[in-house]
């Protein structure tokens, strides 16, 4: 196959834009799974809830879908805190987070998907916005606005989260709980309360990530499953706890997926992330930038 430079550059740019979006999708898991050690495999379900929230609101009110994401963020924060409370009382306080906790989140994932099917059916839903459709033409490549805007907003959000975690008091407490919960307790801070806030934040990111998703592509209830492998591949590849590492991994997966889709056809793209996940787990479980 003749690999034309134009096509390669185009695929590369598309991959970077996709990677920016993946960063928004994954940052929640980096916080919950990486820092809090809560394997929230239901994250894609929360992201889809974000997409459907944007769909519902925009179908009633003429409002920008990404703005809906910002408005819904506090709501998702509360949902996250409530979920953590339930998780804490049912599993963590009994020391049973392993199997039982995983089964719990798996149940949530499934119940969310089936509920969405029951309410909205399996039709693809989409939103309308002025930036869905047009694209900016630069040199040899196109920058579709429906990808560019989510990518930029996502990177800003992830950057702010990184600032929050490294500079603010609560943020540093979250990092502390990820390193040593017992030590935090000795400093007279409640690990449970900090974890509740952190888990709330991790779910709050789903409001925006969900709106990005529905801006980028039409959604249907089972689409979330395609993201599980991707999200965790990125999280592990990025070194679990590191947000900069996670962004680098998102870009990598985005670029490789985009190049795969361009040169072998889009139906192979879902296998890329899984290949990376298996390879990372087998060869270098600490991730790209992780400490050995």
């Amino acid at each position: 196959m003749a690999v034309s430079l134009d096509l390669l550059v185009d695929a590369l740019v598309a991959g970077i834009l996709l990677g920016g979006f993946y960063a928004a999708v994954t940052v929640g898991v980096t916080i919950s799974f990486g820092m809090l050690d809560i394997a929230n495999i239901a994250q894609p379900a929360f992201i889809l809830l974000g997409s459907y929230a944007a769909y519902i609101v925009t179908s009633y009110v003429r409002i920008d879908p990404i703005l809906v994401g910002f408005i819904m963020t506090p709501v998702f924060y509360v949902i996250g805190m409530v979920t953590y409370r339930l998780y804490y009382y049912a599993f963590e306080s009994r020391g049973e987070q392993g199997i039982q906790g995983l089964a719990f989140f798996f149940g949530l994932l499934f119940v969310a998907e089936v509920s969405l099917v029951l309410v909205f059916g399996v039709d693809y839903r989409f939103v309308e916005a002025p930036y869905i459709g047009p694209s900016i033409h630069l040199w040899v490549f196109d920058l579709p606005l429906r990808m560019l805007i989510p990518c930029v907003v996502s990177l800003v959000m992830v950057g702010l989260l990184q600032l929050y975690l490294t500079r603010s008091f609560i943020g540093r407490a979250i990092l502390a709980v990820s390193q040593d919960p017992l030590a935090l307790q000795l400093m007279a801070a409640s690990p449970t309360r900090i974890k509740q806030i952190a888990f709330g934040i991790s779910i709050a990111t789903c409001a925006l990530a969900g709106t990005f998703l529905i801006v980028i592509q039409p959604v249907e209830p089972s689409i979330g499953r395609d993201y599980i492998g991707r999200i965790f591949a990125i999280c592990v590849l990025g070194g679990m706890t590191s947000i900069p590492g996670m962004v680098a991994a998102s870009m990598l997966i985005g670029i490789v997926e985009s190049i795969t889709a361009t040169f072998t056809g889009p139906s192979w793209a879902p296998a890329v992330a899984f290949g990376f996940l298996l390879a990372t787990l087998a060869v270098r479980p600490s991730g790209l930038l992780g400490r050995q």
Binding site: A39, A103, L108, V114, I228, A233, W268, P270, A271
Partner: protein, 344 residues
Amino acid sequence: MRNGSFWIAAAGFGIAFVALSRVLFTNEYYFFAAYVVLQYIVLSTAWNILGGYTGYINFGTGAFFAIGAYSSAVLHKMPALTEAWFGIATPPIPLPVMILIGGIVSGVLGLGTGYLTLRLRGVFFAIATLALTVVVQTLIVNWDYVGGSRGIYIIRPADAPLGGGYIQYLYTLMLVLAVISVGIARTIERSRLGLGFAAIRDDELAAEAGGVPTLRLKLIATTLSGALMGMAGAPLPYYVTYLDPTSSFNLAYAVNSVAMPVIGGMTSWVGPVIGAILLGTIQQLGSVGFFLDLNIPPTFNLLIVGLLLILFVIIAPNGIVGLVTAHRRKRAGALAAVAARRAA
């Protein structure tokens, strides 16, 4: 009961069940429904060998199951292929052989996935299996020989080997599989292997320190569990006669095979069987509109399964079996207290 006598009893039960059903099942539909319930007994028992005994969760039942189904589809097309290529007319491959081969292929998949991920914490294995379904589905969708995303039609052989309709043959095979897998599960439970599994489940680090070859035991469990799932899937093409990726990789398989052992109870072989019979029957009744008066759509069955899974995991983590043993223990305790008071 000793292992030997358990196997004999189970075999006797299976034979009696087949004989009885031939007399009592007046409508062919009953065989269709019973097949699904039996299939879930195999799947949930297989899942429990890894999940319940060693404590490693597999969310990829759909992948193992579908691999078994698709290996049968490949074997089904094999005689036509050899005739086209070599001009030799080979006889069609009998279904029991297909089941065996489906089991081997899925077992190898289990071994491979386990080998790559089981050296890490269990969470990573769970996540890998979750993603596995998507990947295996991608492979099948891109594989034209088995129909790709369009799916493939499978024509059942004209006559069934055991007399009766072909569905009765499928049903009998699935019953045999169910008896075998339950027998295996129970044998493991009472063997050194089972003790090793339980040691891993309770404290892997301590087990490792105590000289239990943890990685090897975990690989045995994943291989065995994967193989049984593949065997459960192997007759599927002949059951549905039209095999397509969307329905054969249905998330319902993964959810049911997790929910049934969790609801039944994960620590003994009885749990998955109870869970499978209970949930399997409810779903079968629901799908034929038994609860028609309530006007429930079929998807609603799955919602109930998911909600029950969450409920049991939170309230009764040891399932129905756990509830029963707790109740018995309480009663035994109360009786002992009464006896002690009388004696005093």
